[in-house]
Symmetry: C2
Subunit: 586 residues, 2 copies
């Protein structure tokens, strides 16, 4: 089954060769570059350097800006209610006329997820390989932006011209098909962006990473490399996807009597294809569960990036027509996400699939940091129902370890190294790898989002700083929730809220109604009637004090009430709920 | 340096031998037990079986109940504002006259942390080894319970009589000194509780686990074993504490020019002693940072469980008198806890210690599931400041792996196995280990909190169910916050709150003031003035509708306002804040 897309790929690249890709883009410039050029290229990351996510980097030469990727990131625990985080692209908006396009390395959310939010601000063409574009188009359609956005599918091995910059898409390996490294040709030299990558000598589908092209570029002379640092703390080499294929084969051979349920990342199209192929080999029908899984399989099949033989997929309602040993479920929820299909199966809230003793459940993923507890919960619930849960050797990373970084840097031999895509400690580890290879420390840059790194053959410096920050998306609101609102939300979450409402007489300031005390998220009212009455008395007393001291300004009355209730509650039960006095006047 | 407490330990146990401990407690009963006894013992866990934490198990025979441990657990992410979780001990309260005492295996929070909350409900004596009692007494003093609580320090190897039950404390190894297994002698047979344990053949301090005693008990006949399942998913043997000692020695020898900062669990008294000994060997002064670290060192030193040579500890203000290479900091914060000393150093908010390039920082711990992101944050901030952060081979677990469980069960050869102390999947894995040893599946119990497991030589069954649930502690409030309050808090956290206040005229129901709209944690008001005005109009319109339809009941008016704002907001920005209409009448 391996390399079943190979023929197609070869055909693709043949077409391409007939076109123009081997005309060696950038040749004209390279002659100039033989002697140190004083031309400068500016590398400006707008995200992606403090945590994994929200990748977006502007490459600027003279009057041209090309933007590599446009990703989102997911909120941390201390950002309640936030759905997504997107980059602030003020710099691109301010330089709109320079921006020639987005070049996208691959179709993961942290590389494409912000496009529907950013394209309305900076409406320029998007360039990507076929599957990547399929996923982008799905997003744009949902956002009603499909017709407004110029798009161009680029084949790996070919280039696109964007103002004074040319970009070559180069085949790489990652946990999604169509992943590309980018060689960005500028008059100041070649900037090579690895994108997310690993070196898989034995990929299940398609070709291995194009190491030859990298070697040729390296020989020619590369100015700078921006490299994926995700696994830079890990020595050695990331295992091949073939390893997972072998595990699947063994597991399917072992569990001939069981229903098999496999949970994995929907975005890992090759993995999903692999499960389908294994199912077919063992004569099982496949049922797909989870909205994102259904979507991606749909998109990938339509554009020919996934091949599913007719009759393999069945609807969940058809499952009773087949015995357990002829069924495989492919499902979302490998990260323990509360609403995903596997979690609903585990919690017995899935409408169609009821877990039973003997089910074999394969988690084909590792928990992303922060998700460990949620994944544990799902596993516990599944094993309580008698299922067997398997999660050893069922996943390999899509990112390069130290030895792969050594290989890439040795082939590309750049003057400057810029580890990206990682927390600081990951990028620091990558810098260590690069230093060991002989790239001087002063030529290795651990930059921050917003830094303007200006490079030429003869000089390198941080030449300035542009706006770079996180913009929160909550529902349909973009940027209307910020840190102050989040701090309020956290306060509300920690201790709840107490409202004190009262109506005063216009002119006299006499109390006409209230103070009424209403709480949410504070305590069980029924069991705390005494406390409620005490709070009422505290508010009344604060009002009386105001009257005695002839305090009439509402703001002072409010803060008297707030302060006295606050200190009463702290003394009594050591809690600080949000206290909100509301005064009406009639 | 190893085993420097050995002499003392031997002396202790000699004293004991002179007393009574080798009189073989339970001998009298055992003759009866030679032929299958129909006498029944009831094992009733009140916590500790769904997650790691809140360990408490009642052992009941006839009119005697002995309670093993009384621990708390920490809240999950979905319990905002909750400080601790303690068990519901209604069953003990209802059977107060039967309860003869708490026997405590060791001094960790998940085994002693609930005592200050439970002792006022069930005031019975507490039995524990010296260090464990020191830590308990510190808690009781803070809670004003020290004088009200009967306490007895028990030496390992000796027994205490509690009604019809006798309990023998047996030396074991764990990540805190004084950890004990308990042999609980009842007329129905011996129930053996391992407590938290590992098998350390080469402990740094004190003796190895008392395997001989376990073998003798096993030979005599053990009815049931309750065993620590924390590491039951891991094959092999947990490494000895000696391994960490070697790492420390190497690290101190390597970093002769640096300031060294070691973060570890305050409760790991042996580890702290080890760091102090290594510091002394390398001629470094020790500075202790973090309240819990200072407390535990203070307690352990006072009662002689920790030995610190005079002049070794210095105050943080004295540090300027010593060069960096003569200093070691021992600090809290190895789990990335936001307020702990190491986190404050990392975030530059520590008042005295400023991290600088060259500092060597050793994390002597592994992140507890759920803390990974916080630990990553601390590491990133430290390396950004130029410090070297070391976390490989700097920690070993305090819990037994599969091979250690095999050893213990082979020595004890019980009739029944009851894996405890772990999530379901851990306990299931332990059950698998036990099955492989030949204990029949029907004699292995994966029970739940509240189950009444009734055992005799001839029968075993779940004989009933008692109350067992989590009680939340928030500030000084115990049990006044429950699931409904938590759900409110989560709603508030996700979307914030909108208050709509209005004043109506008594009798007529005419609107006198309002509707006024106030929000917290919703959106930035200044940037959302239009939305606020729209919401005001929506509320007004709802009121008008009520008037038209002659709706006068406040509850219906409120729900009209709430519903119309709710659907307006969902359509407009897809958010569902808590909406709280408040009506006043004058």
């Amino acid at each position: 089954m391996r390399r079943n897309q190979n023929q197609k790929d070869q055909k693709d690249s043949k077409d391409l060769n007939d076109q123009k890709s081997l005309k060696e883009p950038g040749d004209r410039k390279e002659k100039k570059e033989k002697q140190p050029s004083a031309e400068k290229v500016r590398i400006i990351p707008l995200g992606g350097l403090d945590k994994i996510g929200m990748n977006i980097t502007a490459i600027e030469y003279n009057n041209t800006i090309v933007v590599v990727d446009c990703g989102m990131s997911f909120p941390d625990d201390d950002m309640p209610g936030i759905d997504k985080i997107i980059p602030d692209v003020s710099y691109l908006v301010e330089n709109k006329e320079k921006v020639k396009g987005f070049v996208i390395t691959h179709g993961h959310e942290d590389h494409i997820g912000a496009l529907p939010y950013i394209l309305p601000q900076v409406n320029v063409p998007v360039y990507a390989t076929k599957l990547t574009m399929g996923l982008i188009e799905h997003k744009l359609k949902e956002a009603g932006l499909l017709k407004k956005t110029k798009r161009k599918i680029v084949k790996q091995g070919s280039t696109v011209n964007l103002g004074e910059i040319r970009v070559e898409f180069i085949k790489t390996n990652h946990s999604i098909a169509g992943a590309s490294s980018l060689a960005i040709y500028t008059p100041a030299g070649i900037v090579f962006h690895t994108g997310d990558f690993k070196v898989d000598y034995t990929p299940l589908f398609g070709d291995s990473i194009d190491l030859q092209r990298m070697a040729i570029l390296g020989k020619k002379g590369v100015l700078a490399v921006l490299s994926d640092s995700t696994n830079a703390l890990r020595p050695g080499f990331t295992p091949s996807e073939t390893k997972v294929a072998k595990t699947f084969d063994t597991l399917f051979a072992e569990h001939t009597k069981s229903r098999i349920i496999v949970a994995t990342f929907a975005s890992n199209v090759d993995r999903v294809q692999q499960i389908i192929n294994t199912a077919q080999k063992y004569g099982r029908k496949v049922i797909v569960q989870g909205r994102s899984m259904v979507n991606i399989i749909d998109i990938a099949t339509k554009i020919g990036c996934m091949k599913i033989p007719d009759g393999t997929l069945i609807n969940v309602d058809e499952m009773k027509r087949y015995p357990d040993e002829q069924l495989v479920f492919i499902t979302t929820g490998s990260q323990g996400e509360a609403m995903a299909a596997l979690s609903r199966m585990a919690d017995s809230t899935h409408k169609k699939v009821i877990i039973k003793p003997g089910d074999a459940i394969i988690l084909s993923s590792t928990p992303i940091p922060g998700n460990e507890k949620a994944v544990s919960h799902v596993i516990n619930e599944l094993v309580k129902k008698g299922a067997k849960v398997i999660y050893q050797d069922t996943h390999v990373s899509g990112h390069a370890c130290q030895q792969e970084l050594q290989l890439i840097y040795t082939l590309l031999k750049p003057k400057y190294a810029i580890p990206v895509h990682g927390e600081y400690r990951h990028r620091l580890a990558a810098a260590g790898v690069v230093t060991d290879l002989g790239i001087p420390k002063e030529n290795t840059f651990l930059i921050q989002a917003g830094d303007v790194l200006e490079l030429s053959e003869s000089s390198a410096r941080i030449a300035g700083k542009v706006t770079a920050r996180e913009v929160f998306v909550d529902g349909l609101g973009v940027g209307d929730v910020g840190n102050i609102v989040l701090r309020d939300r956290q306060n509300l979450a920690e201790n709840g809220i107490i409202l004190v409402t009262l109506t005063l007489e216009k002119g006299t300031g006499h109390l006409l109604a209230g103070p009424e005390i209403i709480t949410r998220g504070f305590v069980y009212i029924r069991e705390s009637a005494d406390l409620m009455e005490e709070l009422h008395q505290v508010a009344l007393k604060a009002l009386e004090n105001c009257e005695k001291r002839r305090i009439r300004e509402w703001s002072r009355i409010k803060s008297e009430i707030k302060d006295s209730m606050d200190s009463y509650l702290w003394k009594k039960i050591q809690r600080s709920p949000v206290i909100l006095p509301v005064i009406m006047e009639v």
